[in-house]
């Protein structure tokens, strides 16, 4: 589903954001991408949607060879990926409903179907009551749900969630993560960037760790679960 082969990214400033990263994410997996600030997590996401080009290596998402993708096909790739941005990236002068239906309109969906799907995802993430409000009128958690709803509306096969629980209280964070788990159970591949250690430990999912642009950890769900149990015993 997602494959990175010896991917490096050097910014024009000379800083290496990623060095020789290789990893595979299979269809239906739930993967946490962890690491300190500046470790290259968001850079990987930006490479996956061709917002950036790598300095070296190759990237595949579904059947797309992302690096060699012609410019006019980039929108097609992006429509196949649901993206929850770290800074949400909602249009402030449009209502929540308009923000979400925008993805459907961009995908040339029929108006009726678009309205139906938008209504469904709003219901699914629990903010249907706020559909006519503007982003500024919503709380942080509600905004995160709106961003999640937008990433879901085109029923993508993969969702990239960049710190979807950042700046949220624990209860709201769990609500968001539980929704992602529900979506994952239906077969959607999810890659989630997070700093929330508690969520990572409790969910026992695969964890990929980055530090200074290098892959420093790739633990399977079983080893994460085992380590969590050991930590609890030590306590």
């Amino acid at each position: 589903m997602i494959r990175l082969d010896k991917v490096s990214k050097k910014f024009p400033t000379g800083v290496f954001a990623l060095s020789d990263i290789s990893l595979n994410v299979e269809k239906g997996e739930f993967v946490f991408l962890v690491g300190p600030t500046g470790s290259g997590k968001t850079t990987i996401f930006r490479l996956l949607i061709r917002d950036l080009l790598p300095s070296a290596g190759s990237i595949f998402v579904n059947d797309f060879d992302v690096v060699k993708l012609p410019h006019h096909k980039i929108p097609i790739l992006r429509k196949k990926i649901g993206f929850v941005f770290q800074d949400l990236k909602l249009l402030m002068d449009r209502t929540i409903f308009e923000n979400i239906i925008l993805s459907c309109e961009i995908a040339n969906m029929q108006k009726q179907e678009a309205e139906k799907k938008t209504g469904e995802v709003l219901e699914k993430v629990g903010i249907a009551d706020h559909k006519d409000k503007f982003p500024i009128q919503l709380s942080g958690g509600e905004l995160q749900r709106a961003a999640l709803a937008r990433s879901l509306v085109l029923s993508p096969e993969v969702i990239l969630a960049d710190e979807p629980t950042g700046n949220l209280d624990l209860a709201t964070s769990w609500a968001i993560v539980n929704q992602l788990c529900e979506i994952n159970k239906k077969g959607t591949t999810i890659v989630m960037v997070t700093h929330n250690v508690e969520i990572v430990k409790k969910l026992s999912k695969r964890v990929i760790g980055l530090d200074k642009g290098r892959l420093v950890r790739d633990e399977s769900p079983s080893s994460v679960g085992r380590r969590t149990s050991e930590d609890q015993v030590k306590k």
Binding site: R78, F85, K89, D93, I106
Partner: protein
């Protein structure tokens, strides 16, 4: 959706929208006035060209048979399209008609003191000089009035007017394009963040460009129609004054079909101007 986004963009910055429409209004006001002036001046020239081009006044002693001989000679030359003879009596009638409000002038003049005349039209305006020269040599001719210079002066002025009008339209057209590029460019810059978001969620370049191009088309069409409307209003208001000034010259009323054709052409030009300007702006600012 595109229309909704366009309307949204216009509502968000009404002053910019007003400026864009106003500058196009000015351009198409001048275009309309220019079209009416071209129409009017063409009619004026046609009128003068259709008038007898040479007036020949005969001496009092000229006999009827001498006049007829001269007429035959002129017609045989092949250069003359038409000759109309005006007798002394007819000349008096014309004089009386022209001065019917001034009894003093009517009392002083009789048919005897008015000369008989020919009103001659040439086939080719370039032959007028030669015809006038040959008539001047005739012993029965008192005077030849040759209004060619009036027509050529009129054509000169009209040509100059058309050139000035054309330059004015081109300069205003360029002004409109540049101002529209700046206005749409500012709008694109204001929407930079939204455009970035749309791109990240899969919008194509054309999906992003269309609302701006449509906005330019709307400004163009609205400015074009308003510019035309103002010019027609001015024309309607000034028609009585111009009609009395031009008297017999049949310029007014300007036919409705011409005015409507001008509207159609201007809308088309305005739409092309608006679309081109906004397209250039989005190409420039959406790099």
């Amino acid at each position: 959706m595109v229309l909704r986004t366009t309307w949204h963009n216009i509502r968000r910055s009404p002053y910019q929208a007003f400026t864009a429409v106003f500058i196009i209004l000015q351009t198409f006001f001048v275009v309309s006035v220019f079209a009416f002036v071209v129409f009017g001046s063409t009619k004026i020239i046609e009128y003068f060209e259709s008038l007898p081009q040479i007036d020949v006044f005969f001496r009092n002693e000229a006999r009827k048979d001498e006049i007829n001989t001269l007429k035959t000679q002129l017609m045989k030359s092949g250069k003359i399209a038409n000759i109309r003879f005006v007798s002394k009596e007819e000349a008096l009638k014309i004089y009386q008609e022209q001065n019917k409000d001034d009894p003093l002038l009517l009392e002083l003049v009789t048919a005897d003191i008015l000369p008989a005349s020919f009103h001659i039209s040439a086939v080719n305006i370039n032959d007028l000089s030669a015809v006038a020269d040959s008539l001047n040599k005739s012993p029965i001719v008192e005077r030849v009035v040759f209004p060619k210079q009036v027509v050529s002066k009129l054509i000169e002025w009209t040509d100059a007017l058309r050139k000035v009008g054309l330059v004015l339209v081109i300069v205003l057209g360029l002004d409109s394009v540049l101002i529209m590029i700046i206005i749409i460019g500012i709008k694109v810059s204001h929407k930079r963040q939204d455009i970035e978001i749309m791109r990240l969620i899969g919008a194509t370049n054309w999906y992003i460009r269309w609302p701006f191009i449509l906005e330019g088309i709307l400004y163009g069409a609205l400015g074009g129609v308003l510019g035309w409307g103002v010019a027609v209003g001015v024309l309607w208001y000034t028609t009585p004054y111009l009609s009395s000034f031009l008297r017999d010259i049949p310029v007014f009323p300007i036919p409705s079909i011409f005015i409507l054709q001008a509207l159609g052409v201007e809308i088309l030009l305005a739409v092309v101007l608006g679309a081109t300007s906004s397209f250039l702006a989005v190409i420039r600012y959406l790099k």
